[in-house]
């Protein structure tokens, strides 16, 4: 077996091990590689910056633990920024695991007394029904979520006073990893009601969301963990996402290198029989 044949048949476990080493190393010893801001993140940040203390934002948590590593840091960074600005947040979810992530974000602020439940923040829980549920909630928020996650009446909560439909929120943000998600929010709520919609998405979903950004239906887009890192730096509170950017860059380099080696090996091994004949 020639060198190029061997290069094509590297044991996958060696590649896995290399990837783990390459990703783990900068976590332990950060390299401080530079990070630029994408246009969609800047637009997202600008929309949040326009909000005033007392404004209300709806955050729809449409993701599960399997994609949380890519999108949850976005939710954490944006929620932190909103809370610092004195903006009130209503969490809702059209994915079963969503309420759990809302609890994770709210609890430290509630424990420290920084936020008052029902006044500054509420967890409206999970509403089943995918696209139909999103439409129903979009047009009648309190009617579609009469009780919060803990069974308390939402109609009597100060944060929900005056909220009839999603237009009454100053901004609606959808953090999403699949369907129902961005398309459903755009088709069922943003289109008919013209809400101010921002999206934070797992990076795999970005190509599907881009047409909505291009058309102005989505005002800003955070793209995966990188989007979270950019937002953390813009809002001045570098966190878990920014810390992982070196590791992500090195991981990409390894994958690019593997693709190049694989392709070069393929073409070289195709050439070899000719060379042998000569």
């Amino acid at each position: 077996m020639s060198f190029w044949d061997k290069m094509q048949k590297i044991d996958r476990r060696i590649i896995y091990a290399l990837l783990v080493i390459v990703v783990a190393f900068p976590l332990i010893r950060p390299l401080g590689l530079p990070l630029s801001y994408s246009d969609t993140t800047l637009k997202f940040f600008d929309e949040i910056e326009k909000l005033q203390p007392g404004d209300r934002v709806l955050i729809s948590l449409d993701y599960a633990p399997s994609g949380a590593a890519d999108v949850h840091p976005q939710t954490v960074a944006v929620s932190k920024h909103l809370i610092q600005k004195g903006v009130k947040i209503a969490f809702v979810s059209f994915w079963e695991a969503g309420p759990m992530f809302a609890e994770q974000i709210m609890q430290p602020y509630l424990d420290s007394g920084e936020l008052v439940y029902g006044e500054d923040v509420v967890n409206l829980g999970y509403i089943p029904g995918a696209n139909s549920a999103i439409r129903s909630f979009g047009f009648d928020c309190v009617g579609s979520a009469p009780k919060d996650l803990n069974g308390k009446d939402t109609a009597s909560m100060p944060i929900m006073q005056g909220i009839k439909d999603c237009r009454d929120f100053d901004v609606v943000i959808d953090f999403v990893m699949g369907s129902p998600g961005t398309a459903a929010w755009v088709q069922q709520v943003q289109g008919p009601l013209g809400i101010n919609l921002l999206v934070g998405s797992v990076v795999v979903e970005v190509p599907a969301s881009m047409p909505f950004v291009q058309a102005g239906q989505v005002k800003g887009l955070l793209q995966g963990l990188r989007g979270a890192a950019e937002y953390e730096l813009l809002s001045g509170s570098a966190g878990i996402a920014a810390a992982g950017m070196d590791a992500q860059s090195l991981g990409h380099l390894l994958i690019i290198g593997s693709i190049l080696v694989g392709n070069v090996a393929y073409f070289m091994s195709k050439k070899q029989p000719k060379n042998n004949k000569q």
Binding site: I28, V204, L225, G244, Q248
Partner: protein, 200 residues
């Protein structure tokens, strides 16, 4: 290193899942079953909460009688488990399908067709705009099957195919980026929350 037993369980379960990379083994299968069971249990509790909050309370506590209709339809969906009356389950399914299709049709036409066409009616005064409009037309021509693709049409369609290839490449790149993020999240949990080697 963490002293929280739940963090230890998290770390060990993560290692169990990662052990699949070496080869399938009983530890991996056990962790997989734990994950499926936990997710099913969580889903069950959320479903129970929803029945109480969205059906039982409005009907029984608030006396909203209109809720009887969806509740009966919901119960009818379970008729599929009783053979003599299993046909009853088709009614709620038909309503769900019909309402879903109606919603999707309206939303897709309005937001994914009309709005997207509008967004592509751009003034041809910059390279980006020209590239965008020509690119959309080229991809659409590639999917034009009602006539043979010969001559200039073939070249134009080939351009559309190239653009599609670039798009698939972008999607593939995004998938890699997403998967590395997931690995990164897992390693941050192992090295940070569990072993305490890095600060989070």
């Amino acid at each position: 290193m963490s002293t929280d037993p739940w963090i230890w369980i998290m770390g060990l379960l993560m290692l169990g899942i990662f052990s699949f990379l070496i080869k399938e083994n009983p530890f991996y299968r056990w962790v997989e079953h734990v994950y499926v069971g936990a997710a099913a249990g969580y889903g069950l509790s959320m479903g129970y909460n929803n029945i109480i909050n969205q059906a039982w309370d409005p009907l029984v506590v608030q006396g909203k009688l209109i809720y009887i209709i969806p509740i009966i339809l919901g119960i009818m969906a379970y008729a599929r488990f009783i053979k003599p009356i299993s046909w009853l389950s088709r009614w709620p399914m038909a309503i769900i399908s019909g309402a879903g299709a109606g919603n999707a049709l309206y939303g897709a036409t309005n937001s994914s067709l009309v709005a997207q066409v509008k967004a592509n009616l751009l003034p041809l005064n910059s390279f980006n705009n020209i590239f965008m409009v020509v690119g959309v037309l080229a991809v659409m021509v590639y999917f034009l099957f009602s006539r043979d693709q010969k001559g200039p049409v073939k070249h134009f369609a080939s351009g559309g195919r190239m653009l599609l290839m670039v798009t698939f490449g972008v999607s593939f790149g995004n998938v890699i980026m997403g998967r590395i993020s997931l690995l990164l999240g897992a390693l941050q949990s192992i090295f940070g929350k569990w072993l305490g080697i890095i600060s989070l």
